[in-house]
Amino acid sequence: MPFKSGRFQKKWRDSIPTIVFLVICLALWQIIVSYFKLPLWLIPSPIDVLKAFWNTRELLWAHTLTTLLETTAGFVLAIALGLAAGVAMVLSPLIKRLFYPLLIVSQTVPLIAVAPLLILWLGYGLLPKIVTVVLVCFFPIAVSLIEGLEVSDDDLLNLLKSMGATRWQILYMIRWPNALPSFFAGLKIAATYSVMGAVIGEWLGASSGLGVYLTRSSHSFRTDQVFAAIVAITILSLFYFVLIAGIRRLALPWLHTKED
């Protein structure tokens, strides 16, 4: 226990400079806005944003819940699909040759271009938002996973082969743990993008969600609310990010006995 709390304290101490830095940035922002008397619609001060946040907290909370639901569903789905795709492509070179190019191609399609089509095909329910989240998250997950699964130590692979391991066993005994760091890098990228995916989805067509709050605020020139929405989106994304980082710690104990 004393050991653990020590680590916790260290974490705290480590993040002091970051917090100080952030506070300085915010103060500077506040001062500049106040000093030059910049109008609210152009750029709100941090206090304005905080006020907007507080004043619309219930509304914001309701919208956040929608977005949270969409993001979580999409993210989980994207992980599942990413895993399936990665594993299938590493197990079967044929599948890789058939679908890897398609996977790449699918990602090059700009969301804002297909978004209207998506809506047209899928309607305005939750589905198209979940699909956009999946579209945004799937690719970094799948690519990082595939890259990670493929770069494995040849000697270890040979060892397992020499022990008569099946492809599948080689996959989960060697390739998979070896790919985990890369996989988590992909997950981190995906986590940061996930909420954005949902917001884009909502911007396409939705009746609730942070994207809706955002466009409505923007169209009624409430820049303070726009910033409040951005803050909410950021907090949400960071939540996923931190979650992933935490899971990473648990999933890679052999790296952490080194790092400690």
């Binding site: 000697d155 270890l156 040979n158 060892l159 397992l160 082969k161 020499s162 022990m163 008569g164 391991a165 066993q169 005994m173 060697i174 743990p177 070896n178 985990l180 890679l252 104990p253 052999w254 006995t257 080194k258």
Partner: protein, 253 residues
């Protein structure tokens, strides 16, 4: 019976020229025999092991185990590579039990067995350590134990005792002789220690410089069980001298 028949192997040397490693190697190891391979560094001993283990495929020739060709077929023999190759993400215990996991044996049982053997190897305290927390000799013993617990009738051991001190090495040799005499697996054993080869083997095969040819096969006639003292006997000293001469290139066959 393990048979290498006219086996040749070569590597593309950085895309430029071809590097011949093995040339027409013929080797027969009777089932239940203990055969050592010795030869200069880089001559192709590990390559022979890779071929038998099925992780590499010879350019020419064929390899048979009990009459069936095992050319390029992995999983037929227990193989301990020269590098220890413990999986960095598994604790020592889980590394040692790898073979059982591959065979999908009961986890609890296999761990119990592994722990028992780790204790016997003096590694019990380190069961939960990851490989990077172990010393070189500990890793090597772990790798040996993994190969042994994989439990095949044919074992290919590539310098299993290279990183051990004299005492531990002797203990391990005695352990190996002991388990070998109990279950009599076929063993192909690579070592740089001529005395070790004499002490353990039924036959010592001497390889030439690259591309490796077989210079000589020497029968070691001592009865078993053998003790370390045997190495001081005149017969052993003669064999040792013969082997040294072969390696030094002083003797032609």
């Amino acid at each position: 019976m393990l048979i290498l028949k006219d086996v040749s192997l070569s590597y593309q040397d950085g895309g430029k020229s071809v590097l011949d490693v093995l040339k027409n190697i013929n080797l027969e190891v009777e089932t239940g025999k203990f055969v050592s391979l010795i030869g200069p560094s880089g001559c192709g001993k590990s390559s022979i092991c890779n071929l038998i283990a099925g992780v590499e495929v010879p350019a020419q020739g064929d390899i048979f185990l009990e009459g069936r060709s095992i050319k390029g077929v992995p999983g037929q023999v227990g193989y301990m590579p020269q590098k220890d190759l413990l999986l960095p993400w598994r604790t020592l215990l889980d590394n040692v039990a790898l073979g059982s996991d591959i065979r999908r044996e009961d986890k609890r049982q296999s761990r119990e067995k592994a722990r028992h053997w780790l204790d016997r190897f003096g590694l019990g305290k380190f069961a939960e350590h990851y490989p990077h927390q172990l010393s070189g000799g500990m890793r090597q013993r772990g790798a040996l134990l993994r190969t042994f617990l994989f439990g095949q009738n044919t074992l290919i051991l590539d310098e299993p005792f290279g990183a051990l001190d004299a005492l531990t090495r002797r203990e391990m040799q005695e352990w190996l002789l002991n388990v070998w005499s109990q279950s009599r697996p076929t063993v192909v054993f690579i070592t740089h220690d001529i005395e070790e080869a004499i002490l353990l083997s039924d036959e010592v095969v001497v390889l030439s410089h690259s591309p490796a040819r077989i210079l000589d096969k020497i029968h070691v006639p001592f009865s078993r069980p053998r003790e370390q003292d045997l190495l001081l006997s005149g017969g052993a000293i003669n064999i040792k001298k013969h082997l040294l001469d072969l390696l030094n290139g002083k003797r032609n066959v």
